[in-house]
């Protein structure tokens, strides 16, 4: 067993109607994904304020992923379309500031896609592990 293996901290914002249910389905089907992924339930992916994402990085998250219903399937009809635009703009800005683009992701996971949820989380964690610790958006005060 590797004792010093680097464990990233991943915050996943999941919309209540599709992705949170997708994560539940992954659970029902006992599909493994890393325990480093911690899910926060939001009514819709459009509830995710960029401030939450920055907050997570500040507090020590190494990656933040936002999951919502597939475009066109939003429980609220259009919420995820706004998410898509907001996050495209935000992620592009973070990249512009030199923050590793692999640390942020948006993925559409339906309530039926438990397998996709698990696979997405496995892949995302793998990418973040490859990057190592988040240094560029960290707040040293939170590490004391």
């Amino acid at each position: 067993m590797q004792v010093n293996e680097y464990k990233p901290l991943i915050v996943a914002f999941c919309c209540n109607w599709c992705s949170y249910a997708g994560a539940d389905l992954a659970g029902n089907n006992r599909l493994n994904y890393p325990a480093e992924v911690k899910i926060i339930r939001v009514p819709c992916s459009c509830r995710v304020n960029p401030m939450f994402i920055l907050r997570a990085f500040q507090r020590g998250a190494d990656g933040v992923i936002i999951c919502g219903c597939h475009p066109g399937d939003c429980h609220y009809t259009s919420g995820n379309y706004y998410t898509r635009r907001r996050m495209a703009a935000l992620f592009s800005m973070l990249d512009y500031l030199g923050i590793e683009k692999e640390r942020t992701r948006v993925e559409w996971v339906s309530a039926a896609e438990g397998a996709k949820f698990a696979a997405t989380m496995n892949d995302f964690v793998e990418k973040v592990v490859a990057l190592g610790e988040n240094k560029r958006l960290e707040d040293l005060r939170c590490k004391k």
């Binding site: 960029p50 401030m51 920055l54 907050r55 990085f57 500040q58 475009p71 066109g72 259009s78 379309y81 706004y82 898509r84 635009r85 907001r86 996050m87 495209a88 703009a89 935000l90 992620f91 592009s92 800005m93 973070l94 990249d95 512009y96 500031l97 030199g98 923050i99 590793e100 683009k101 942020t104 992701r105 948006v106 560029r136 958006l137 960290e138 707040d139 040293l140 005060r141």
Partner: protein, 332 residues
Amino acid sequence: MQKITREQLIDKAVALLADGTVSCVLGWSKGEFDYDVTPAMFNNEEELKANFVFNDFCGVNFSKYLVAKTQKCEGKILVFLKPCDTYSFNQLLTEHRFDREKVYAVGIPCEGMADIAKVKEICGDGISSIAFEGEKMAVTTLYEDAPVMLAANDVLAERCINCKSKKCVAFDELMGDEGNVIDSNRFDEVEKLEAMTPDERFAFWQNELSRCIRCNACRDACPACTCEKCVFDNPNSGVENKSPANSFEEKMFHIIRAFHVAGRCTDCGECSRVCPQNIPLHLLNRKFIKDMNEFYGEYQAGAEVGSRAPLVNYTTEDLEPGEVFDRRDTDA
């Protein structure tokens, strides 16, 4: 140098005051030196003749003042708007931030404003006078006997070098010629940064943003930042802070500030103008503008009243956040 003169503007203001169209005038008031111009309200001809100025240092965007001034002023306010100010004017109207009926807007042409820092870079500190002579600016300092003659282009502010429009898009009356929207190279600097490696970009911004002293001048001068209570002043917002306590706070502030005005920023350049630390803040705003133009089609905030900004709009065919990078990586 400006084609429209102080005298023309005073005549206009006096006439509009005299016929009762307006009850006061928002204009530029002269300072201690020839470049430190302050926005001020003028109530009559006497005040105008005594203190009103118009020259290459009248860069302040007046639009934001209308939010507060229209609430306080009885009758209409006469405001002189340069082309870039008119975009902010429209954007504020789009957001219902002031009553259009309380303003009489006179669009004026602008030949670009000067940056005093650039003047000092060439002539040195200790400026005793700046005189406008035809197409030139004669700068006299304490240390040289003869004035230095500067061409307008030598000292043009960055935002004016990259001027996007000479067209007044909102006015009750236009003075001078109607200008045009022009092709600018305003995204060149953004492209340069985009072409860097992430490490270089990080180093660049780390260096720039580490200078931030959190004076909030960028926010307080920004005509898009007219919130009744800014999240950064609101202890309940979770992001309130008064100081750039560490490098995260600096980034947080500037990312959120730029994000909040994304789609609403008209690219007037006030943020960079007022930054005491010369942080090129416009490069953050322009990144959002450039991205949104590329992702969702050309959009100019404030080009007309009532338009729907890209971030409060969508199409079912929009690109995915991940595709933002795929696009760029394939372009490269």
